[in-house]
């Protein structure tokens, strides 16, 4: 690079400026990737402290015996595989997460269409109202549900009694209890799907629908051949994200049924707490909680691979 230096006294002099020597350290700190790293560092430290360290610590705990004095390797996992309750928890966690996510996605999808079709002036109020369940801390809203489902004084049963129905043992019978915890989870999680699907719907080009209308497509064909393919990636991401969160659910089950009756509503997290903290067997509790990891990792791998493949095709 050459700079032109004007000599004010006489003729211009073209001087060959010496390149400024930038120290390697300075260059390192000026790199975009370094700046990005430092900006993300607080978050990385936070994740390291609150996620990675506890995760590795729980792996360490899971390799200890009950009194945490001896290394037992995979002993706790082997023991878990022999327990009937553990397999019941695996089954229940799958039923809970899959059922809840399917219904959350379905309700979110339908509600998003309704909201999408509302004139934009009135949409904001509907969006706000429909987001309320997702905004309230779940521990608090589940307490309200607990009162609605109370074994002896259920508000639902009080209303049903007027129609000669019930009383329904919402949390007293294993199958009703499962229904209740799934219902509350759907109520809480559906708005998350709604808002993301609504955003996705808004990004589908209107021309596609116009072309479909010219071709004589009916409502179902428009959904099947335009909306769903256009939303496929967002659906996959939301389902994956929700599956992870729902699988790891703790608060709803803990508050509503505490895993009962007869352990029929326990999930990994609640059973882990029961075994580890309430039962004083921290290594076994840690092993139970770690079992979520491979299941979710497999689900994440399949879903993300699918998204990548379609991204490459595009």
């Amino acid at each position: 690079m050459a700079d032109v230096v004007i000599n004010s006294a006489s003729q211009p002099v073209v001087a060959r400026a010496r390149p400024r020597k930038v120290s390697p350290v300075r260059r390192f700190f000026q790199q975009k990737s370094t700046i990005a790293f430092f900006m993300a560092l607080p978050l990385i430290l936070l994740i390291g402290l609150l996620v990675i360290y506890p995760a590795f610590y729980s792996i360490h705990l899971a390799t200890l015996n009950k009194s945490m004095q001896r290394f037992v390797g995979f002993g706790n996992f082997k023991f878990l595989f022999t327990r009937e309750t553990f397999w019941m928890v695996v089954q229940q966690s799958c039923i809970f997460a899959i059922t809840a996510v399917i219904f959350k996605a379905l309700i979110g999808f339908i509600a998003a269409h309704f909201v999408h079709n509302i004139p934009s002036a009135k949409q904001r109020i509907w969006r706000g109202m429909l987001l309320v369940p997702w905004v309230i801390p779940p521990a608090m809203s589940t307490l309200a549900w607990l009162w609605l489902f109370d074994p002896s004084y259920s508000a639902f049963n009080y209303i049903l009694a007027y129609f000669g129905i019930g009383p329904i043992p919402w949390t007293g019978d294993a199958y009703w209890a499962r229904f209740s915890v799934i219902l509350v989870n759907i109520w809480y999680g559906a708005p998350f799907f709604l808002i993301l699907y609504l955003a996705a719907l808004k990004s589908v080009p209107e021309q596609l629908y116009e072309a479909a209308a010219i071709d004589g497509c009916n409502w179902w064909q428009r959904i099947w051949f335009i909306t769903l393919p256009m939303m496929r990636n967002i659906i996959a991401i939301t389902v994956l994200f929700s599956l992870i969160v729902t699988f790891a659910n703790f608060d709803i089950v803990r508050i509503l049924t505490a895993g009962g009756p007869l352990d029929k509503t326990h999930l990994f997290a609640t059973w882990s707490f029961k075994v580890g903290i309430e039962g004083g067997d921290i290594p076994l509790g840690a092993s139970v909680s770690l079992f979520m990891f491979p299941i979710l990792a497999i689900a994440a791998t399949f879903i993300l691979r699918d998204i990548n493949q379609r991204g490459n095709e595009a």
Binding site: F79, S152, A177, T257, A258, G260, P261, D263, E278, G279
Partner: protein, 446 residues
């Protein structure tokens, strides 16, 4: 800058003078000369009860010149258990920590032995009940001292009027205030008949069969009354016995007379059942009665706390103590022991019992005759039998006498109530017993 060199003679002289000064100087004791002491006590649910404990601790602290910090940790949401687990892992935290039932054994290796203060306390206050010995002694070592606050018996709390009306039983005659119980006829058969009568009369007994401690404690006391032990003191599994079968049959009959939703009950459900006026009896310390005094006085004035029915092998009542322990990593163990001794003086315990309205129940023999229990009401004398003044029932805990680390699993996993519910819901007896055996085998791991 000139620097004066210290000669050997000067150094020796200076050392001698300073030593003499230090040795002869008067000892000035500062406000916190004996150091600092922190404690995590159980957060009492009775308003004002914590204040009395704070006052007692502060009085001691002022006298002993110790700076104290008190944290009241609630058992709501098991925050106290999480605190115990965290401090045990971190090997840091409070000096004194209140542990419920099973936790001293679970943390035995990290607790300071308390034999040096327990022995004089027993000499002073009388023997402690067997449940405390079971929960607080490991290999001859006292792991903690029984705590007055929060310790409780979960006996029957009965509606005088409803039991008389439906079952023609005068519970005040069985357990008169001010004198020995006349409850020989109060046995498991009479209990079942009363449960049936009250059920027919529309005021069923409210005995939970959920997975929380009220439900488990009641099931455990009845199991002991039938002579059953899922695991004996030596760690042998004893599930397929006649005693356990009889107990399951008893519960099957009883459950038919209870509200249908009892498998979903938690520790609040039975309280609500009594306070609502629906139930004729619950198994609870006097907390439900205390709430009724505030919210439903007409219910409270009909409540009478008394003893368990006697079974074929005796009369057992659940006693749940809290135990004050000192971590072995505590830097001020001597001050901690001094405070714990102070808290178990008769005057301190009496003040704590009074502040709790009679709910708190010391474990020592000579500390069960405070006037609070005789005078509390309405009706007057309702708590007279609560502290088991004539020792007519044996205080126990569910899953005992199994080795505590196994018993803790049976207790926390609610194996007893699950057995009752499974059998009641139609599972074959042998299948229920097989299931329980398999569960308990899993609890044996060390």
């Amino acid at each position: 800058m000139s620097r004066k060199k210290l000669s050997r003679r000067e150094f020796v002289a200076a050392t001698a003078v300073s030593s003499a000064a230090l040795m002869t100087a008067p000892y000035i004791r500062g406000a916190h000369a004996a150091g600092k002491l922190s404690m995590a006590f159980w957060d009492h649910w009775v308003p004002g009860a914590n204040d009395v404990t704070t006052k007692i601790v502060n009085e001691w602290a002022e006298k002993e010149k110790v700076a104290v910090t008190i944290d009241y940790v609630t058992s709501q949401g098991f925050k106290n258990l999480i605190t115990i687990a965290a401090e045990a892992q971190a090997r840091a935290g409070h000096d004194i920590i209140t542990m419920p039932t099973w936790w001293p054994h679970a943390n035995a290796e990290q607790l300071e032995p308390m034999n040096d203060i327990m022995e004089p306390l027993i000499a002073q206050n009388g023997k402690v009940n067997g449940t405390v010995e079971y929960l607080a002694i490991a290999n001859g070592k006292w792991l903690g001292v029984p705590c007055t606050t929060g310790s409780q018996i979960k006996g029957p709390c009965t509606r005088i009027d409803l039991l008389k009306k439906h079952a023609n039983i005068d519970v005040q005659a069985l357990y008169p205030a001010g004198s020995e119980p006349k409850a020989d006829a109060w046995n498991t058969d009479m209990f079942l008949k009363a449960a049936e009568a009250c059920h027919k009369g529309g005021n069923p007994f409210g005995i939970g069969l959920g997975e929380t401690s009220d439900s488990v404690d009641t099931a455990g006391a009845f199991l002991l009354a039938f002579g059953g032990q899922l695991v004996d003191a030596k760690g042998n599994i004893n599930i397929k016995t006649d005693a356990v079968r009889q107990w399951l049959e008893f519960y099957k009959k009883l459950m038919a007379f209870l509200p249908p939703d009892v498998p979903a009950w938690d520790d609040a459900s039975n309280n609500k059942w009594l306070v609502s006026g629906k139930g004729a009896m619950i198994m609870n310390p006097p907390s439900a009665w205390a709430v009724a005094k505030r919210d439903a006085p007409e219910v409270a004035e009909q409540c009478w706390t008394h003893g368990f029915p006697v079974g074929p092998k005796g009369r057992f009542a659940p006693y749940l103590p809290f135990i004050n322990t000192v971590w072995n990593f505590s830097p001020n163990k001597s001050a901690a022991k001094s405070l714990l001794t102070h808290l178990l003086q008769r005057s301190s315990a009496e003040r704590q019992v009074a502040a709790s309205g009679g709910y708190d129940l010391p474990a020592f023999e000579k500390l069960t005759d405070f006037k609070t229990w005789a005078e509390e009401g309405p009706p007057k004398g309702t708590l007279f039998s609560y502290p088991n003044p004539y020792n007519h029932q044996k205080l126990s805990i569910a899953a005992s006498p199994a080795p505590p680390k196994i018993a803790q699993q049976i207790y926390s996993q609610a194996t007893l109530t699950k057995m009752c519910v499974r059998y009641y819901q139609g599972e074959a007896m042998e299948k229920t017993l097989d299931w329980a055996e398999s569960e308990v085998e899993g609890f044996m791991r060390t």
